[in-house]
Symmetry: C2
């Protein structure tokens, strides 16, 4: 049996769509996680090499597509304000990452077979 | 419990990557299926609203990434030549579609939960 191909990665890129519009996908989930980690929309945008305006538009779109906002502003304090995930925001990230893990596990055997067809 | 959101679709878009390069993704698999159905690279490209050149480049790239070509030319005959999937080409499409089905099944419960957080 040939050796498995080196450096090949299988990525599930789950996308929730309605018609031509994407409600949630890997980029938006990454943005939510960066907001959670940095406490700042500006820092999260910078980490993703994305303009602040683009990140802000993504957050506004996310907030409008869910039953309650996923991101909220934090005003005042020493840092002069920031952003954080709401309880619903955290729940959405957890569910999305769970789907990734569940699906990686489910396809393991098929992926191993497919991998053997690829150039090493 | 709120009703499920209407018109929302969850799509697994599996991508096999090596570094920054994509070896296989949903677009290439669609192209392979269209070639199998039409017996022609030109018709497959037209169905995907893609230029012939772009489709040809995708096929050349696919053929080089797998241990054996996925698509082969069919010369002669009344139709003046066409394209078809090799045995390996068919195996790759079957495995990819199988991964999609396996992963949809695996995430069903989590997706139902996530769906209830979205605007109906």
């Amino acid at each position: 049996m040939p050796k498995k191909s080196a450096g090949l990665i299988l990525k599930p890129r789950w996308r929730i769509v309605r018609g031509a519009e994407t409600a949630l996908g890997p980029g938006r989930v990454d943005l939510l996680e960066h907001i959670a980690e940095t406490g700042s929309l500006r820092s999260a945008a910078a980490r993703m090499e994305m303009s602040y305006m683009r990140a802000w538009t993504m957050v506004r779109s996310l907030n409008s597509r869910f039953r309650r906002p996923l991101v909220e502003a934090v005003r005042g304090g020493k840092t002069g304000g920031g952003a954080r995930l709401t309880e619903m925001g955290r729940a959405v990230v957890v569910s999305y990452r769970k789907m990734e893990m569940q699906s990686q596990k489910a396809v393991k055997g098929t992926w191993e077979k497919l991998q053997r067809l690829l150039q090493p």
